[in-house]
């Protein structure tokens, strides 16, 4: 199979997965036994006529299948319905909150991937030595501490005790007022960097550190453990022995020969960790008052704002499936044998 055929097949699969997710969330939200019309109409008593009009406006009078078909059609056109709470388009709301989450998730994943892979590879190289044992303890700590607990500890240490780092929001209020950041990507760190707004950049970076650490710990620990075990297999393989027999330096054997082989399982795990981070950020955002998708999702859930809940769910599913597609494509690029199957 060619690489292109492989991509097309994977994209087709992706569409089906998204449709499946939409079907499930759709049904679940319609089954929830509350009256969406009440939310739509706001507080107070409503006449049956008002209710019927609301039902029609919401499309609730049509058969479920038709409602779903319409939802998918609107979804593709970018019309994800209106929030029952804000009465604004769901997609617009989501796009407003998404960049902050993305900023947090991407920085946490980048940190986790870099530290996890390098520490894991080094631990495998120094198997049974001090570096390996230290790494193992660190990884277990990262994996076993709940992220919200770690977040609280970080807040106490770096804010309350040391007074080094801020613990709420993306920017200090004074900085936001005096050095406003032009909105380009919606990610404050990126936008301030692009526009050369150094004061805001530095301030945004400081705000990003603690939530990033809290979110990254679990991912880094898991990545490190996976990398270590995959690297051990690779370093004990026949081809590694052949390379040693040919006088290839350790640095090359570890950093190229073994690492490229060990990447497939590690990347697969990173894809799964991305899903963890997508939902894990919901907690972290609450703790650090981060204006992201998690905050939006929490409010929507508390308000049974089902178009918003569906929108968030689908965005999460879409992000997850896309990340996994990218992971699989990278694996296929790295390992020439994957294309055969």
């Amino acid at each position: 199979m060619t690489f292109r055929a492989y991509i097309i097949r994977r994209l087709a699969l992706l569409v089906f997965v998204i449709l499946g997710v939409m079907a499930v969330t759709f049904v679940v939200s319609r089954v929830i036994p509350t009256d969406p019309t009440a939310l739509y109409l706001g507080g107070g008593r409503h006449t049956p006529e008002q209710k019927a009009a609301a039902r029609e406006a919401l499309g609730l009078d049509k058969p479920l299948v038709v409602q779903f078909g319409l939802y998918v059609k609107d979804f593709v056109r970018g019309d994800w319905g209106n929030s029952l709470r804000t009465h604004r388009p769901v997609l617009g709301d989501i796009m407003g909150f998404l960049p902050a989450s993305l900023e947090l998730i991407l920085s946490a994943m980048a940190l986790a991937v870099v530290t996890g892979i390098s520490m894991g590879a080094f631990a495998a190289y120094r198997k049974g030595r001090l570096a390996d044992h230290t790494g193992r303890v660190a990884a277990i700590a990262g994996v076993s501490l709940p992220s919200f607990f770690l977040a609280l500890v970080l807040q106490i240490v770096f804010f309350r005790v040391l007074g080094l780092l801020p613990v709420a929001g993306q920017l200090s209020i004074s900085v936001a007022r005096e050095y406003p950041v032009t909105d380009i990507t919606g990610m404050v760190v990126v936008d301030s960097l692009i526009t050369g707004n150094w004061v805001a950049f530095w301030d945004a970076l400081r705000h990003l550190i603690l939530p990033t650490l809290a979110l990254a710990a679990y991912c880094a620990g898991t990545t490190m453990r996976m990398t270590r075990s995959a690297m051990l297999d690779a370093l004990e393989s026949d081809y590694a022995r052949m390379a040693y027999a040919m006088g290839v330096p350790d640095r090359v054997i570890v950093g190229r020969y073994a690492l490229k082989n060990a990447m497939a399982p590690v990347l697969t795990v990173i894809g799964l960790l991305f899903a963890y981070a997508l939902v894990g950020t919901f907690f972290i955002e609450q703790i650090f008052a981060w204006p992201g998708l998690g905050t939006y999702a929490t409010i929507s859930i508390l308000n049974l704002d089902y178009p918003a809940i569906m929108g968030v769910t689908i965005i999460v599913a879409l992000a997850y499936v896309t990340v996994n597609l990218i992971v699989d494509l990278i694996i296929a690029k790295l390992d020439p044998r994957v294309m055969l199957s």
């Binding site: 027999a245 082989n261 020439p336």
Partner: protein, 359 residues
């Protein structure tokens, strides 16, 4: 040579004396588990650390003790002067790099060459092993090649930097019979055309008979007999070699096949004295507590056995003639049980009488 394992200390190698002259293929034969592979790993410094411990002995290569060499110096020798190919060519090649990438990587480790120049060296090496030096081959991945081609690619990698000594650990075992013959012929060609000395590790006496100039027979971590191929096979002296040749299946039906009574000893608790004494038809008292040392029974033909020594009319423990390992390099023989290789020098120097020995 010992392995620290969970079950105890495996005394894997105990008396390995082996000499490889220039432009010579020495066969290392013996049953599974007798220490052939471990011997090969010792030469290349591939023993797993930290379990493996070399307790005594020397490996002399052109007079230098490889065991005493610092790691960096040893690494510079590996692949360039001494190299090795293994039993499973598919597993030995890195699955995610092309043939060209992995061989040129080895070339560039040892020579300061540009990518292009390195690729030329790769083509030359491929050609020397009978492979077409085409772009298509350079760009293919190991899994796309046949078994025989993979083993040739391994050999091309092993000789790509002009190695003078090649350790080939069962290079034909994983291949089918017709391909086996081609690979053995290739070994002969490497010897004749490039002057590559070789240690050919095999459990197949037939393979060794066809290919090797000299044969060393191993039993439970000892080389028990070593000499010119024809001599060793036609006039074996050591009781184990005698039994081994008796057991060869050639022209015999299944019922006629003989086996050596008893089993290979556990190397965690090996028998004292001669390690073969529990299974030996000629065992005498001294065998149970004293390890026999090798002595020359005929020109260049050595064996380590009390019985042979008695028969030959010499007193026990007395050896005559020059002792093994005293070659032109003038290295005195190490009386401790150990492995010894006298490795053929690389074609570059043309010197003779280089020694390698170790335990």
């Amino acid at each position: 040579m010992e392995f620290r394992s969970l079950r105890g200390v495996v005394k894997a190698l105990n008396g390995v004396y082996l000499t490889v002259h220039e432009r010579e293929i020495v066969g290392l034969v013996g049953e599974s588990g007798c220490g052939k592979t471990v011997t090969g790993y010792s030469v290349l410094g591939l023993l797993p650390k930290p379990q493996a411990q070399v307790t005594s002995g020397r490996i002399l290569f052109k007079g230098d003790d490889l065991l005493a060499k610092p790691q960096q110096e040893m690494r510079a020798l590996k692949g360039k002067v001494i190299s090795m190919v293994f039993q499973d060519p598919l597993a030995s090649l890195n699955p995610v790099f092309t043939v060209g990438e992995q061989i040129s990587r080895v070339v560039r480790v040892h020579h300061d060459l540009e990518k292009k120049a390195a690729l030329e060296a790769v083509r030359t090496a491929l050609q020397a092993t009978g492979l077409p030096p085409t772009d298509a081959l350079l760009k293919s991945y190991p899994h796309q090649l046949s078994g025989g081609m993979r083993q040739r690619v391994c050999m091309a990698m092993a000789i790509s930097c002009g190695a003078g000594l090649l350790v080939a650990d069962e290079p034909t075992t994983a291949l089918d019979v017709t391909i086996q013959m081609q690979i053995l012929k290739l070994l002969l060609r490497l010897r004749d055309e490039l002057g590559v000395s070789q240690i050919l590790i095999t459990h197949n006496v037939g393979v060794a008979a066809q290919t090797c100039d000299r044969i060393a027979v191993m039993y439970a971590g000892n080389v028990v007999e070593e000499g010119p191929t024809a001599d060793v096979l036609k006039r074996p002296r050591h009781p184990y070699t005698l039994a081994l040749i008796e057991c060869l299946p050639q022209g015999k039906s299944a019922e006629q096949l003989k086996t050596i009574p008893g089993a290979v000893p556990d190397l965690i608790d090996p028998p004292a004295g001669c390690r073969f004494h529990e299974r030996c038809a000629h065992v005498r008292d001294i065998c149970r507590d004293t390890m026999p040392t090798p002595f020359e029974v005929a020109r260049d033909h050595w064996t380590a056995c009390h019985w042979v020594q008695e028969k030959s009319g010499r007193g026990v423990g007395v050896t005559t003639g020059h002792e093994p390992g005293v070659g032109a390099a003038g290295v005195p023989f190490n009386r401790d049980p150990g492995i010894e290789h006298t490795a053929g020098g690389g074609p570059a120097t043309g010197e003779s009488g280089d020694d390698i020995r170790r335990e």
